[in-house]
Symmetry: C2
Subunit: 343 residues, 2 copies
């Protein structure tokens, strides 16, 4: 890879270079990059807005994260928030802080990932801000989407007797991170170290290139399911369950033996001597959808291959508990990842 210093292009040159290939895909994008503001048209629909900040050394480690994957993931996690409101993401803005050790080629790689995610999910890049940074790389993405008012699903709508559902499986992204960390430590100081990821590809994919569950949203729409509450699992299932219970004023019971866990996740947990259920409940970064539906939707949800029923909503006074395999009740606590280092 050749190395071009960013200062040879300057800010405007860099932005031109990066955004040239992005073609507008949505009729709601009236004007994208190139003026003081982007102009959007959501006539008759509600506008959804979400934003995420990713910092080197806090949220990602470039010793094992390819820049293209990082760009893809940075977009994916924002889209996931829009799908979690039952909306459709339409536009993103991307702001970057870039330290001197990054070249134009590096940033092109990052943007190749951003581009791939925008193409796959039909999203337009409509603006941003690009600057030098003192240290490291930072990515701040805002995603704008749309939804019919009657389609929007908040966290607050879960009701007693509703079924609790989750898509995909949990804990794999966390195990992928543990695996990458282990190989990083093992490789320290060794030239030509070859990490051993054979048979663990799924864990790496879940950590490095998560996909927002647009497919689950589309399937629910086809089946005529509208969740009563929904959010995406970014901080871990425990944390998200407590959000829904708190905002909806309800309690819940989830069943340990119903938590969906991939085989690779289980093998890795055993190898690392970690508690599998803790990883699945608190690992986070799954970007699966956690949602609740009325009991009457049981049969519809049961036919969704990628969705599993994991429990039920209760009256608030019953609290939030996991029912273990031996029928004990364990209180659910948020032990999700916290960027400020406390539990």
């Amino acid at each position: 890879m050749s190395e071009t210093e960013i200062s040879t292009l300057g800010e405007f040159g860099l932005i031109d270079n990066l955004t040239r290939d992005f073609k507008v895909k949505n009729s709601s994008t009236v004007r994208g990059v190139g003026d003081d503001c982007a102009v959007l048209d959501y006539e008759g629909k509600k506008t959804l807005v979400t934003t995420d900040l990713l910092l080197e050394g806090i949220h990602f480690d470039l010793t094992y994260t390819p820049l293209k994957h990082l760009g893809y993931k940075a977009v994916a996690v924002n889209l996931s928030d829009v799908y979690a409101m039952n909306g459709t993401p339409r536009q993103i803005t991307v702001s970057l802080g870039i330290s001197k050790r990054f070249t134009v080629e590096h940033i092109n790689e990052l943007y190749a990932g951003i581009y791939a995610a925008c193409e796959r999910y039909g999203v337009d890049l409509v603006g941003g801000d690009t600057s030098a940074s003192v240290t490291g790389l930072l990515i701040s993405i805002t995603c704008i989407g749309e939804a019919d008012e009657k389609e929007i699903v908040y966290r607050k709508g879960a009701r007693d007797t509703d079924l609790i559902c989750v898509s995909g499986d949990l804990g794999a992204a966390y195990m992928g991170l543990q695996l990458l960390e282990r190989e990083r430590v093992a490789s320290a100081g060794q030239k030509d170290f070859q990490p051993d990821f054979a048979g663990r590809e799924y864990l790496l994919e879940r950590q490095l290139k998560p996909e927002p569950r647009a497919d689950v949203i589309a399937e629910m729409r086809e089946l005529g399911i509208k969740p009563t509450a929904m959010m995406d699992v970014s901080d871990g299932l425990s944390s998200e369950l407590l959000h829904i219970c708190k905002d909806s004023g309800v309690g819940c019971r989830v069943y340990e033996d119903r938590i969906p866990i991939d085989y690779q996740t289980a093998v890795m947990a055993e190898e690392l001597n970690m508690n599998l259920v803790t990883a699945a409940m608190n690992g986070g970064e799954d970007y699966e959808l956690l949602f609740t539906v009325p009991l009457t939707d049981h049969d519809k949800v049961a036919q969704m291959k990628t969705v599993k029923l994991i429990g039920r909503i209760t009256k608030p006074e019953l609290g939030a508990y996991m029912v273990t395999r031996d029928d004990a009740e364990m209180e659910i606590r948020a032990q999700g990842w916290n960027a400020f280092g406390d539990a």
Copy 2:
């Protein structure tokens, strides 16, 4: 000031603490902070989106920037972009990266400034993301606003014979920065150093607490003026004039003796032995409005006290030049501030 470590609150505690006092002011804010996305309703209007990234050590120096001013300015510069499209800002999201040297009290100060700007300009805080950072403070703000389709002013609408107008005065923010830098250097290593800012308050205010020109937009609306092209002056008048000329496919002539410059700016330039016109043309961070109007609006614009006619739009083949006091023509070049360090 007492010192509370951010980790004692955690991310969610910190966000609750910071956003508690923000009350929703706009009917377009259906749902603010507290779900996966904010929900906005701009039915029948276009949505405007802009974003800015401010990094410690690149865009601001906390040795002379009070945190409250910084919060205010971070919001102000985003609102300025929405006004520059002839729109009305309605919502912002605020993402922060915060290193360990900052306490809860520090971030409260920063938010006091964000709050003050939101109150003054009637804007709702609707979301964001807050994280630890490895070094320094970073602020990423996205502003969302609205405009009637027929009211939006782009950079591309300037036509031959249009008048070029600018609000307020130019170069003061840049001179304020020079002054602050001079005092910082003078104070280095001296305990109880008292910087001498007497008679220079305007320069400091322009640098530390800029105001977006909502007043100019409101006055133009009252007078029935709709600019043909408009943008805000963030990188310097030269740079912005070239943007309008390029996007509109036109040339321009601006007159050196018409560039609005405050008395304090002139005195400071002389004291620092700097070229005054260069400071006014290329200093940047003025957050004034640069716009063009048809010749037929001459009398309306002439009655605006805070707006000055500085030149006219020409055919593209005539290029972009400044006419000096001695009637020479100097080609306008963008020498605005560039975060990547090149000219």
